[in-house]
Amino acid sequence: MLLDFGKLGILKWVLITLCILVALFLILPILFIVALSFGDSRWLIFPPPGWTLDWYRDLFADPRWFEAAWTSARIALSVTVLSVVLGLLASIALVRGRFRGRELLRAIFLMPMILPVVILAVALYILFLRLGLDGSFAGFVIAHLVIALPFSIIAITNALEGFDPAIEQAAILCGASPWEARWRVTFPAISHGLFAAAIFSFLASWDEVVLAIFMASPMLQTLPVKVYTTLRQDLTPVIAAASTLLVGLTLVLMILANRLGRRRSA
């Protein structure tokens, strides 16, 4: 191969150094936060003078943190379910459908990804004020669904495009009704796409903050909003502890997604 890595000579070491620097740049802030969450300095001094689990104790002692996490989880799970179901239906239309304006429709579905989130947030906020959905659970779910759906549609259309419709036709000739064929053959065959859609949808909602700030009310706020408001009121290592747990869950989900992807290609 022209760009054989082993034959690049000095350039090879330049590339390796660059990769390490980029990785450090991405990972260090996270490692800092994790370290600070275990540090015993109230003023977030780095490196920490000593180690403690106090901040985690404080975190778990305060029911408002737990409440926020529970709200986040409920919203994220609702978004996940809706996003996968709607994403699947939309993907079937986009991949299998033969109608005018299909490409336009695809572009519209992906629009929330390129639209600045603040603009989306303001627009939804105004709309929800009129509809009386502001500060409500449904409002939260709908707002997060808007940003989760594009991820879901991308993951599922990709999986569906790699699935030969003749396989579904074969199932139908075997005696399965069209919906039975989809349920027993098509959906299991694209399950890796559905899982990816679920994980990305969950994460899109779970760590989303901009929309959540607009949608939140004193009665209803998600974990990222709680982190943000706490941060503004008083700078405490409890935030680092909360962030560490957030990162931890995200990491677990990403590893899960990666595993699923690898099993599929194996």
Partner: protein, 362 residues
């Protein structure tokens, strides 16, 4: 009168302005192996897809044992089908793939196990139950697909170019398997292919499709010895055609004036012709003789050897007539001239009048 087992009646299907099939008319006997042969876009696959219920015809009817199946949705037609592409369910094992039609029909587990084993043994893949489709070769996958299509004993099995993705050697091997399975099960098979050799090897009868219509239906031998149209003559066997003009008509035979003035006498006509009309003389490569000497008057032509291709058991010779029209002659391995010909040799082609045909031009 007993209605035919499967009757396709006046089928017509258009896609916008494009006519896919027209006037498709065919009766198939129970247990028959019928092949739809034709070039791509000739309407053979469309006809098969209408049978499967994936497409609806504009007009016409299909009757199975006297009852129309057009109103019956695909999944209730109880028809088996093997597709051109690999269509095994990727997330299910081989055994579960074959069991799928039985599970959909809610058969008891004991019967499913028994039938799956029997179907896999039929395609010589006994013991493959636990394997995943991705671990099988293309030929094995199509055999599992065949087992899956036969496991519920459908009255009709459709096969849409099932071997076109396989290499030649494997293809011949599975053709032999398909023949055996047809013999053992007695299932009625409708088989689509564009490969004439495959059609001849497998079929009881062949329907030749061209431009959306059936040109001729018959056994391989019938199509070969008495092609009804120029297209059939061209498609079955690699015939050469020489342009000529009808000089005289006598009953169903005609004398043809060829390009260099030679008169080919008493050639069977395939359609009514009249003197002065242009016509084509069809020569089968293996039925004409190559010789250093001219034959009887009116049944031979001088030619110049242009190209010699040794193909093992046969040798194909392309020779040019005096007016530069190519004629292919096929020599057997034991032929006295085999292995002695070179480009530029001057020889004669000779034929017996009953082995050639003339097709008057419109």
């Amino acid at each position: 009168m007993i209605p035919p087992f499967l009757h396709i009646n006046g089928l017509r299907k258009t896609y916008g302005p494009v006519v896919a099939t027209e006037h498709v008319e065919l009766s198939i006997k129970e247990g028959e192996f019928m092949t739809f042969l034709g070039p791509s876009g000739s309407g053979k696959s469309t006809t098969l897809y209408i049978l499967a219920g994936f497409q609806d015809p504009d007009t016409g009817d299909i009757r199975l044992r006297g009852r129309s199946i057009l109103g019956v949705p695909s999944h209730k037609r109880n028809i088996g089908m093997v597709f051109q592409r690999y269509t095994l369910f990727p997330h299910l094992s081989v055994g579960e793939n074959v069991a799928f039609p039985l599970r959909v029909r809610r058969l008891p587990q004991a019967e499913i196990t028994r039938k799956v084993r029997r179907a896999l043994e039929l395609v010589r893949l006994g013991g493959f139950e636990e394997r995943k489709p991705a671990s099988l070769s293309g030929g094995q996958q199509q055999r599992v697909a065949l087992a899956r299509a036969l496991v519920y004993d459908p009255p009709v099995l459709l096969m849409d170019e099932p071997l076109s993705a396989l290499d030649k050697k494997l293809r011949e091997e599975i053709q032999y398997e398909i023949r055996r399975i047809h013999r053992e099960t007695g299932v009625t098979i409708l088989y689509v292919t564009h490969d004439q050799e495959e059609a001849l090897r497998l079929s009881d009868r062949i329907a030749i499709f061209n431009a959306g219509r059936i040109e001729q239906v018959g056994t391989g031998a019938e199509l070969y010895t008495s092609p009804a149209t120029h297209f059939v003559a061209d498609f079955i066997g690699d015939s050469s055609f020489l342009d000529g003009t009808i000089a005289a008509v006598e009953g169903r035979c005609a004398d043809l004036r060829l390009g260099d003035g030679t008169l080919a006498r008493r050639i069977p006509l395939h359609a009514p012709g009249r003197p002065g009309q242009r016509a084509e003389l069809m020569l089968r490569p293996e039925r004409i003789e190559l010789s250093p000497d001219p034959g009887p008057d009116g049944a031979s032509l001088p030619v110049l050897v242009q190209d010699v291709t040794f193909l093992g058991n046969i040798t194909d010779v392309v020779a040019l007539t005096a007016w530069n029209a190519p004629v292919t002659v096929r020599l057997g391995f034991m032929h006295p001239l085999s292995g002695r010909l070179t480009r530029g040799d001057r020889l004669w082609i000779r034929w017996a009048a009953e082995t050639v045909h003339a097709f008057p031009r419109d």
